[in-house]
C-alpha cells in the first residue's frame, strides 16, 4: 500500500522537512501534496484523495484546528487519518485536537516517531509494512 499524503504547513522549510522525514522513514509513498494553510488544504482535498493528512496548527488564513473541524463535518473526510505536527504545547488545545480524532507529533520529532504514528493511525500493521517475517524453525541442529 502506498500512502498519498497531504502536508499542510505555512513554513515551506517545515513542509520540506516533513516530506524528507516521510521518505527517510521508509514508508511507501504515493503522491505527496503540499498546502500552506488550512484553506489551501481544503481546496486541495476537493481535487485529490489522500490517505493521510499531516497538519500544522498555527497558520495564517485558516489554522489547523479550523481545517480539522471542517474536515470532520464533511462525510467524505470525517474519518481521514490526521496527524497534527506542531510545536503546540498547550494541553487544552492538544486535547481539543485529540477529541477531533487527530494524533499528535510534537516538533522536534525523530523520523521513527512520525513513522510509528502513521502506522498506528492508518491501521497498517508491521506485517503489511515490513512484509512477512520468517519464523525460525525449532528443529535445527544444536
Amino acid at each position: 500500500m502506498a500512502f498519498n499524503v497531504l502536508v499542510v504547513d505555512d513554513s515551506a522549510v517545515m513542509r520540506q522537512m516533513v516530506v524528507r522525514t516521510l521518505k527517510m522513514s521508509g514508508l511507501p509513498l504515493g503522491t505527496v501534496l503540499e498546502a500552506a494553510n488550512g484553506e489551501e488544504g481544503l481546496f486541495t482535498l476537493q481535487e485529490h484523495w489522500v490517505d493521510l493528512l499531516l497538519l500544522d496548527i498555527n497558520m495564517p488564513v485558516m489554522n489547523g484546528e479550523e481545517m480539522l473541524r471542517r474536515l470532520r463535518a464533511a462525510p467524505e473526510t470525517e474519518n481521514l487519518p490526521v496527524i497534527v505536527v506542531s510545536t503546540e504545547g498547550s494541553e487544552t488545545r492538544l486535547a481539543a485536537l485529540h477529541e477531533l480524532g487527530a494524533a499528535i507529533v510534537r516538533k522536534p520529532f525523530a523520523p521513527e516517531t512520525l513513522r510509528d504514528t502513521i502506522l498506528r493511525i492508518t491501521g497498517v500493521n508491521d506485517a503489511e509494512y515490513y512484509g512477512a517475517v520468517p519464523v525460525a524453525s525449532d528443529d535445527g541442529d544444536f
Binding site: V13, Q16, M17, T87, S90, K107, P108
Partner: protein, 161 residues
C-alpha cells in the same frame, strides 16, 4: 536570571538541534568555538500570558551543515534555505520553551521567524534577557536568549519564578 528558565531554554535548544538538525551541542566550548563570531541571528516574537522574543544567534560556519541535515545536501548549499532552516530551529525552540516555562495550559501565538544579519538589532540589550544559553556546535557556536517585553511581573505571575 532564574535557573529553571535557563534549564528549560537549554533543554529545548539541545533537543531541537539534536532532533531537527542532527547537531549535538557541546556545553564546554573549545577555544575555536569561543572565538567563532556570531554572524547571523533570527528572532521569533510571541504573545500570550506574557509577551517577548526569542533570539537565536549562530556562527555562519554551522549553517550549511544544519541546513543539509534538515533539508538535504543540495538544499543545504542555498543561502536562503540556510536562513529559513535557522528560522525553523528558532521557531521550534520557542514553541517548546514557552510551555516548559509557563505551564501546559498556557496558549502562546508565535510570529514568523525574522532573520537579521546584525544580531545587535534584535538582541534588545536594553532589556535583560530572562534566560540565555550558549553552546558549541561543530567549529562554531550558538547563543539563545529569551526576552520578556515590558513588565516582567506578568511572566512571574504565570511561572511563579
Amino acid at each position: 536570571m532564574p535557573s529553571t528558565m535557563v534549564q528549560s531554554l537549554s533543554r529545548a535548544t539541545t533537543a531541537t538541534f539534536e532532533e531537527l538538525a542532527l547537531l549535538f551541542p557541546e556545553h564546554q566550548l573549545t577555544d575555536e568555538q569561543t572565538a567563532a563570531p556570531l554572524g547571523l541571528a533570527v528572532s521569533v516574537d510571541f504573545r500570550g500570558p506574557f509577551n517577548g522574543r526569542l533570539v537565536l544567534e549562530v556562527s555562519t560556519s554551522i549553517l550549511p551543515l544544519a541546513a543539509s541535515n534538515m533539508l538535504g545536501e543540495h538544499e543545504g548549499k542555498q543561502p536562503q534555505l540556510q536562513r529559513d532552516a535557522l528560522g525553523e530551529l528558532a521557531n521550534v525552540i520557542c514553541g517548546n520553551v514557552l510551555p516548559a516555562i509557563a505551564g501546559q495550559e498556557a496558549v502562546f501565538h508565535l510570529s514568523a521567524p525574522k532573520v537579521h544579519e546584525d544580531a545587535t538589532a534584535v538582541s534588545r540589550e536594553h532589556d535583560a534577557a530572562q534566560a540565555r544559553t550558549e553552546f558549541g556546535v561543530e567549529d562554531g557556536r550558538a547563543r539563545v536568549a529569551l526576552y520578556v517585553f515590558g513588565d516582567a511581573e506578568a511572566m512571574l505571575a504565570v511561572t511563579g519564578a
